[in-house]
Symmetry: C2
Amino acid sequence: MDLSGAEFRRAGYALVDWVAAHREGMAELPVRPSVEPGSIRAALPAALPDAPVADVGAALTSLLDDVVVPGSLLWQHPGFFGYFPAQASLLSLLGDIASGGIGSQGMLWSTAPAGTEIEQVLVDGFATALGLGEAFTFAGGGGGSLQDSASSAALVALLAALHRSSPAWQETGIEGTERVYVTAETHSSLAKAVRVAGLGSRALRIVPFSPGTRVMDADALAEHMSADRAAGLRPVLVCPTVGTTGVGAIDPVRAICGVAQGVWVHVDAAWAGVASLCPEFRYVLDGAELADSVCTDAHKWLGTAFDASFLWVRDGRALPAALSITPEYLRNAATDSGAVVDYRDWQVPLGRRMRALKLWAVVHGTGLDGLREQIRAHVALTTSLATRIEAEPGFALAAPPSLALVCLHLTGPDGSPDDAATRAALEAVNADGDSFVTHTTVDGRYAIRVAVGALGTGPEHVDRLWQALRAARD
Amino acid sequence: MDLSGAEFRRAGYALVDWVAAHREGMAELPVRPSVEPGSIRAALPAALPDAPVADVGAALTSLLDDVVVPGSLLWQHPGFFGYFPAQASLLSLLGDIASGGIGSQGMLWSTAPAGTEIEQVLVDGFATALGLGEAFTFAGGGGGSLQDSASSAALVALLAALHRSSPAWQETGIEGTERVYVTAETHSSLAKAVRVAGLGSRALRIVPFSPGTRVMDADALAEHMSADRAAGLRPVLVCPTVGTTGVGAIDPVRAICGVAQGVWVHVDAAWAGVASLCPEFRYVLDGAELADSVCTDAHKWLGTAFDASFLWVRDGRALPAALSITPEYLRNAATDSGAVVDYRDWQVPLGRRMRALKLWAVVHGTGLDGLREQIRAHVALTTSLATRIEAEPGFALAAPPSLALVCLHLTGPDGSPDDAATRAALEAVNADGDSFVTHTTVDGRYAIRVAVGALGTGPEHVDRLWQALRAARD
């Protein structure tokens, strides 16, 4: 039922050409689509075809041109400043083509030895390059993996924490006394992990910020944990964030590890952690070497197409101990020997693609120095924008800029945030198709987030956004 | 930091050529690698490069030739009969290239309108083509999604079941009285879902088989649930399997739905469900139209490279109701309108690729008739093999063949299963590199599983396996 090699060459070249042309011409397209809910469904045939189309490559590129591109928010567009970047480099696409071509299933070492070991080498190499220290490498007794997302990484870290806190968890489940510590800036994936793991929202403790900041107050954390323990509750996980989604706040990981007293510390550095590749930004992961697990995404600001989220753990046995269940049909000599890593035991799904190849292509295609250069360039662009915001009448920073993220308000005559004007400015900016930004709230006030980090974003794109923001004010 | 369009064209063509040549020549390669644990890690440089390599396309194809192929179990090989098939068709690879090229993040409708709606159209179309009925389509108030795996599908179905059974679950979590009903043939992903969701293994009820079979006894299920209710316990989920991993057993879904009495029924048809595309195999999903959720994998026997697992639910609101958490930075007008599907609320991860494109390419490239043809061909090959096993001295079926799966024993002089001989035969077959099979146990006796379903498997490959099995006996 499949294409022949010759047919695949022809259609594959056509797809490669289409992707190249799409990326080359993307800056001329509107970053944001104008489509109404349901319009795309209504335009597509409801029934699936019984017979094949004549030329599936041509049919697919037509679908891309006619339906997908006009109906998509273009995350790879140089004017994309929304959410966080989701860099899908062409380099990583080479690795993904290879992964699909091999088509292996990496649930066990024995079902994908090369995929497993290439991944091990890469996660060890990145642990070193990020300065996490040997404890997080396989050589040092820890280990890493490429998860599908930081959400899943947080979930499995929580499961390992529950297991370490009480091995009976595997048999009797949640007791109801478990508690998890976050801040109001922590990503919603932690609340979701707590829900999925059956703890219920009552288990989530929102630790206050240090005064005048949006970062976790380590003293308050100590007090919360102490009070909970006194009340018969059981702290199981603390999650400091390195670069929160709202404003890019960086929790004091070192201080938090200092008060955690054996409670599992999971560092969610999904967006910002990769900046630690640069010596001058290594401070973002300060103290992370003391944590139990650390996550940062290769699929945000490290060029690698979704999905590829690093998760390192200090104890390389922790995830298998928590998650492994081995039915007869998965038993094999390599697993029984204890000499291999079976990545199914590091995640919820059983199957997995060979994610390592796309990351391999990125780091070999651009080098660590290439990754460092783009991180520096994006931070410089953001710093420059923040300087202009601060100097400009009618604008104010909503929070200190953090690496390549800056949040801003439009302000009223008295200099205080003007929610209506800020919201109107966001809508005006997003309406013209050159730039795309999203929002958050800071201390209850509406703020525009500018996350610099699309692969092609340069000074001219930030300038254009800034002109649009100023025009919206005027 | 990325490739230019011209560079991507050159390297992309090279990767396409590599994949085409790999698939064309694969039958000549050993299906199973001979590598020792750790040998691949030891052979790769530990440190990541600071500078880029000169030609990343060439470096990547060298890695594939020198490390990946010799170090991989070749799941796409026509002699692959292990586990279940994991068809990664070249058709689906076309769609995956497109997905990577677009590089969108499908967490919300508003972040990927086209990706969301193309997925909705496809899952509705397949619900119809499989005969599941309108109740599982968006038009009928239900809906579907493409999950990463049947494991994740089972987990989110369980979470929806927990929420429906007790909405307080979101706040107070697991009570400890919840119970989940499976059989000894149910896939380990259900035990894992129960563990992940915090129920603990005590929540798992193993319902006996009907006498002389390996399928769930619906009467025994009714008795178990009734006894549990009388003991103050709370049945939340029943999971019948359509095509168990061990022997391909098909639980009586209709009878199970008849006794479930409002308890969520999740049909795990991961491998076998797609057979229902053929009218003569529609019986496999008989009764599934009465269930609450149904899963079947496009990435096993439907040509679509991992990951792409269908999950349909009868109540299209059930998963968002159970899973949605909306921080300020994800709020948007389309979501607030209630007129769209935000697929992040159907899964644990926040982000998602545009999985729909690879499935679109498969069904348009081969047509439903092409999918039906290969299912029929694989079933016919299996039936023929089973006939030969039954007729052959020294062999016996370990269970009735099911679609494209047959399990066998080697037998001793008295005709009873000979575990040592069966194990030795598996090792002999797998040693020569032509064929690869895996094992299970049936009533405690070691059995070889032959799962026919690699894309290129034809009569000659089954013949060769059969010759190898007979040679191992002799």
